[in-house]
Symmetry: C2
Subunit: 113 residues, 2 copies
Amino acid sequence: MNQKSEITKKLLPVMDTMELLNGRWKIVIMTTLYLGGTMRFNEIKNSIPRITGRVLSKDLKFLESHQIVSRTVKDTSPITVEYELTEYGKTLDSVFRALTEWGIQHRKRIIRK
Amino acid sequence: MNQKSEITKKLLPVMDTMELLNGRWKIVIMTTLYLGGTMRFNEIKNSIPRITGRVLSKDLKFLESHQIVSRTVKDTSPITVEYELTEYGKTLDSVFRALTEWGIQHRKRIIRK
C-alpha cells in the first residue's frame, strides 16, 4: 500500500511516541521525576517498587540521549548525580496525568473483583 | 521499606496501567480501534505499519482477556471476526488523545532536526 489510510496517518504520531516510551519502566521513571522534581539515582530507585538498578540506569541513559531527562554531576564530596525532567520532558505531563487518572479507576476495578 | 513514600503511592496507578499496556504495540492497537471502530483482523493489520500477524493476534487476545477489546464472530460465509473497544477500553480515550497530541509535537521536533 502506497496510499496510507486515514487511520494510519493518525496512528503515526502515536507509533512515534510508543517507539520512544516503549517498555515497562520508562513512563514510570518519567512520572517519578515529574512527581519528585530533582532526584538522585537512589531516590528514584527507592521510589519505584521492584525496579532494578541495571534497568533504571539503562533507561535513564536512554531518556537522557533523547533530551527528556537531564543529568547533572555536582562537585560535592562525595560527588552527587542528580536527574530531572527537561523542559521537553515536562511537556509529557498530560500523558502522565491521563495514565494516572485511568490507573486509579483501573485499580479500583481490579480490587473490586 | 514498609512505609511507602508519597511518590510511590502516586506511582502505583501508573505502574498498574503500564503493567497492562506494556509493550510496543498494545497502545497502538487500541488507538487503531479507537479511530476505526469495529474492524476485522486484516483491517487492523493493514492500518498498522510493520506489525506482524503473530504479534497482533497475541496482543488482541491479551486485550480481550482484560476486557479492553471485544471479539465477535459473525455467522456469515465465510465467517467474519470483528474486534472493537469495549466500553471499558473506550475509557482510555484521554490516554490516546494525550499520546497523539504529544506525538504530533514530537514528530515535528524530530523532522526539524
